[in-house]
């Protein structure tokens, strides 16, 4: 079992998978990331990240039905698992905790 550490790009992909539910598959995730963050990523990088997340248990996947586009090939749809949701929650709360401890003074606003 691989470690459950969540990398920065992995977290981004994990968030996107959650946000796109139930339409999260390779190209859609890539497009979404591009749209939301402006980051240009290669499709192969998205695939690798999603496969890693799958191995770590953060997402689960299954093949969809036949399609009209892409030569009739099926898509692999990903969805967040409870464990994945928890990992996102943890990351979020950890971040918020630290964020809240930033003293107001440091912004120099008041």
């Amino acid at each position: 079992m691989k470690g459950t550490y969540l990398g920065e790009f992995e977290e981004l992909v994990l968030l996107t998978v959650g946000a796109l539910y139930p339409e999260a598959y390779g190209v859609a995730v890539m497009d979404e990331i591009k749209q939301e963050t402006g980051r240009k990523v290669n499709i192969s990088a998205v695939h690798s990240a999603m496969r890693r997340l799958d191995e770590k248990g953060f997402v689960k996947s299954e093949m969809g039905g036949a399609t009209n586009e892409r030569g009739g090939r099926r898509k692999r749809y990903f969805e967040l698992t409870a464990f994945g949701k928890k990992a996102l929650d943890d990351a979020q709360s950890f971040r918020m905790k630290l964020y809240n401890r930033i003293p107001d003074i440091s912004f120099g606003t008041s």
């Binding site: 190209v27 695939h47 090939r73």
Partner: protein, 899 residues
């Protein structure tokens, strides 16, 4: 938009994706890249989309996506990995054994590689020319009714030209000739070899042109091409192209322009050249008679045949050509010339090792030596492998339990065999690395000892050969132990019973064979040494110690032979007068040939009886025979004071007297009326003027050549017959000799280069080939002794270990160290005795056939066999003795304490 569906991504990229991608990922990945492609087609231009598609496909080429072959992923790869791991552990556990095995095979392999390099060089002569399969050397054979046969590979000059004109299959021809020439103008002229070759020489043969005119270096009459070494010699590091080089041809000096520098001929080429000029200059080098005559010999003639020509099939065409071109009536009489004047072709790559065709300029090696050495190197490799096999079988008892457990766990015999083969392969592999390193280290030493010039490089070819040999060694040495081990009976092993190690008999035979080969090699080396010593120390019938010979120059190269010889004799006298002022020099004499050179002039004549007789011919001054202390049997030697001796005197050797059928020869004549006025004045004892390989030939010695030349019908010479001055040097300082001779020489002949030779050295050089082979065999013998010792040492360790309890019990019961030592040594004594006994007839037979090549040979005798037996015995004792002694002396408590 409308035709969007018709545009598809690059097919090859799609197929490539399908090829490498794991099937479980293929659909999603292919789907995604296709979807992206379709989206891009809509937005961007097509070619951009295609490029990006390819890029995506390439980006997916990751380890995790790549299909793992079902075959590779199977049990085999896992088991191989496991086998390797087990093998490495076994080697590590038995360090001493592994070290002995690896070094044994490494030494064997080193020997094999070294000798193979030599053999490869010998068999690959001129194999590097692209057109080698179509290049042939022509030979000419004149067959006379009285039994005379003149078989030559140096051919008449017109042959090449006529072959090209008359035989359509001959695409091109190349003549190759060489000649000594003086290089330079004025002082310090140097005598060097000049090659006269057809202008197309560099088109047909693949010698690389390094500088200058690559396309056609010998295009002009004035072109001269230099080898790399000679470019350095005459022009140093400067660019020689376009520089002038003066060569003396005939009486005149001609200027040539350097047009190209070519690589030095490779070591495995039979062509030796240093300076080459075009054959179009032939009027300078050859007389009219030479250029037209069909019964002279000159250059070697090579032909390039058209693709698909069978050289043997050209016979009718050469016969027709001979019939139409050559008038044989004056030579052969009234018989069809094409049956007596034969022309044939010999493949280029066949020349070096074919001793049946006479040599021309191209060196011919002894094929026998190549086979012998090849066989020896293979045998040594085999005994190295046997070492491993015998040791592993010996070890098999220790591993019986392992085999049993594996079998119980379900191992098939095949699995066991492959496991043990992996082990031997690993050993072979490690040994190869060590062996190659050893070879690289040992090569300069080998070159030095064997007087060869071999190079070893890790080229692709060599690496492939070595890998093949390694696998062969691994397989050969591992297969037998592997089969033995895998056949063990499970139940008997695990019940704790005795394992039937079926290898005992084979093991004993293997040791015997090893010892046999060692004894054979040692005695053969000794016999070869003995013969070489005999050759070099036997009484040749003259005294040559401290004799120096200085070749002289004749004043004109184009005069009559007799005049040419006369001028050289005059020069000899001048040099003699100069040198004799120094008391260190004595015993002066001069003659047309000196001992230690092959190819003394051979003359033939038709005797009064109608027989055709041949004899060797020596032209001397009156002092030559005394200078060499040649004994007289009857009559007298040349008397310097008698003019009649000078003009008419003839001295024969004993063989000549018998050959000519003369009785009481003094005062008589040679058996033909055609000879001029002459008289036999003396007979000398036979002496070995040729190498001891040959029987002594009839020899005629004269001062004046003219009476003899009048009566001869043919003339043949392999050595220059221009006289040499010989004298004895009484001193020990060799550099002083050189200075003294040089001083006198440069005063007299400032324009000529001085050469001088020690006769003793030249005599030894005659047996260079034999000496070299002897050196190589000695090295092989030494290495085989080392390998055999490794094997014996391993077996002794094994034996002592397995008998440790027995020794302990014996000692407790009162056995002395000595009796135990006897038991241990006794193990090998029978094998050793059998090996020695068997080796004697084999060695005797093989060495006798080698000795048959020599007309003068030593007796094999018993001493080589006694020596080799003693040597082998002492080696065996030393190797075994130390360990056995230790075991015999050990405290029995240690052996018996643990149960």
């Amino acid at each position: 938009m409308s035709n969007r569906r018709n545009i598809s991504p690059p097919k090859w990229a799609d197929r490539f994706l399908e090829l490498y991608c794991k099937t479980e990922f293929l659909e999603e990945i292919q789907g995604d890249v296709h979807e992206l492609f379709e989206a891009r087609i809509a937005k961007q231009n097509r070619s951009m989309a295609k490029v990006k598609f390819v890029w995506d496909v390439l980006r997916f080429l990751k380890w995790s996506n790549i299909k793992k072959s079902k075959r590779l992923n199977s049990n085999v790869i896992t088991m191989t990995r496991n086998n390797l791991k087990v093998a490495a552990r076994v080697l590590w556990r038995q360090k001493a054994n592994a070290a002995l095995n690896i070094s044994g095979i490494a030494v064997g392999l080193t020997c094999f590689i070294l000798i193979s390099l030599y053999v490869k060089q010998e068999v690959s002569y001129d194999g590097f020319h692209q057109k080698k399969d179509r290049i042939y050397r022509a030979w000419v054979k004149e067959v006379y009714d009285d039994g005379r046969v003149f078989f030559n590979t140096t051919t008449p000059l017109p042959l090449g030209y006529r072959l090209e004109e008359n035989i359509p299959e001959v695409e091109e021809f190349i003549l190759f000739d060489s000649r000594e020439t003086l290089v330079g103008r004025g002082d310090n002229r140097v005598k060097d070899e000049l090659n006269i070759v057809s202008a197309n020489f560099f088109k047909v043969f693949d010698f690389e042109v390094l500088k200058g005119n690559r396309a056609n270096p010998l295009d002009e009459l004035s072109s001269v091409v230099l080898s790399d070494t000679y470019s350095q010699k005459y022009f140093g590091d400067a660019n020689p192209i376009g520089e002038m080089l003066s060569l003396q041809v005939g009486g005149a000096i001609h200027d040539f322009i350097v047009t190209a520098v070519v690589e030095d001929p490779p070591l495995n080429s039979g062509f030796s050249y240093t300076m080459l000029v075009s054959l179009e200059n032939r009027p300078l080098f050859y007389s009219d008679g030479m250029m037209k005559g069909w019964f002279n010999i000159g250059p070697e003639t090579y032909v390039l045949l058209k693709e698909g020509t069978n050289a043997d099939g050209l016979k009718p065409k050469t016969e027709a050509m001979v019939k139409s071109l050559i008038d044989g009536s004056g030579v052969f009489g009234d018989v069809p010339v094409e049956e007596h004047y034969l022309i044939g072709f010999q493949p280029l790559t066949d020349i070096h090792l074919n001793a049946d065709v006479p040599g021309g300029r191209y060196p011919v090696g002894n094929p026998q030596y190549v086979y012998i050495l090849g066989a020896i190197s293979l045998l040594i490799l085999v005994i190295a492998c046997m070492n491993y096999a015998t040791l592993s079988i010996g070890q098999s008892l220790k591993r019986a339990k392992e085999v049993g457990v594996r079998k119980v766990a379900g191992a098939h015999p095949i699995n066991l065999v492959s496991q043990y083969l992996t082990e031997s392969m690993l050993i072979a592999f490690l040994a190869t690395i060590l062996g190659v390193l050893l070879t690289i280290v040992a090569l300069p030493v080998f070159n030095e000892l064997a007087q060869v010039n071999l190079a070893f490089e890790l080229s692709a070819d060599n690496v492939i050969y070595i890998i093949l040999v390694t696998s062969f060694i691994g397989f050969l040495s591992g297969i037998y132990p592997a089969l033995i081990l895998s056949r063990f009976n499970v139940s008997s092993i695990l019940r704790g019973g005795i394992v039937q190690s079926g290898g005992r008999w084979v093991r004993k035979a293997a040791i015997t064979f090893q010892l046999l080969l060692t004894v054979f090699l040692i005695s053969s080396t000794l016999i070869m040494r003995k013969q070489l010593n005999y050759l070099q120390s036997s009484d040749l019938g003259y005294s040559y110690d401290a004799m120096i010979s200085v070749p002289l120059y004749a004043d004109s190269h184009r005069g009559k032979v007799s005049e040419e010889i006369g001028t050289a004799f005059k020069n000899a006298d001048m040099l003699k007068n100069e040198l004799s002022k120094n008391t260190a020099f004595s015993d002066f004499g001069s003659g047309s040939h000196v001992f230690g050179s092959e190819g003394w002039v051979r003359l033939g004549f038709d005797a009064n009886t109608g027989n055709y007789l041949q004899f060797r011919f020596l032209i001397v001054d009156p002092y030559y025979l005394d200078a060499f202390d040649i004994d007289l049997v009857e009559g007298e030697k040349f008397d310097p004071a008698l003019d009649i001796h000078k003009s008419q005197g003839v001295i024969l050797n004993e063989t000549a007297v018998a050959y000519f059928g003369l009785e009481n020869p003094i005062g008589k004549k040679l058996p033909s009326d055609k000879f001029g006025e002459h008289q036999i004045i003396g007979v000398v004892k036979d002496f070995n003027f040729e190498s001891l390989r040959e029987e002594i030939s009839p020899l005629v010695i004269v001062q004046n050549v003219l009476p003899i030349f009048q009566g001869i019908s043919d003339f043949n010479s392999g050595d220059s017959f221009i006289p040499k001055l010989v004298f004895r040097y009484q001193g020990s300082n060799l550099s002083e000799v050189s200075d003294l001779i040089d001083k006198s020489w440069s005063g007299l002949f400032p324009n000529e280069k001085l050469n001088f030779y020690f006769v003793e050295q030249s005599l030894q050089n005659q047996y260079e080939d034999e000496a070299r082979v002897n050196q190589i065999v000695s090295i092989a013998t030494l290495l085989s002794i080392v390998i055999a010792s490794f094997g014996l040492l391993g077996l002794t360790i094994l034996m002592v270990n397995s008998k440790i309890k027995e020794i302990g019990v014996r000692k407790v019961l009162g056995a002395s160290s000595r009796s135990i030592l006897q038991i241990l040594l006794g193990q090998f004594s029978i094998q050793l005795i059998i090996a020695i006994c068997l080796s004697i007839p084999i060695t005797w037979y093989l060495m006798s056939s080698w000795l048959d090549d020599f007309a003068f040979r030593t007796d094999i005798g018993v001493d080589p066999f006694i020596f080799s037996a003693v040597i082998t015995l002492s080696i065996v004792l030393t190797v075994i003795g130390f360990h056995a002694f230790k075991a015999a002396r050990s405290n029995p408590i240690r052996a018996l304490r643990i149960e």
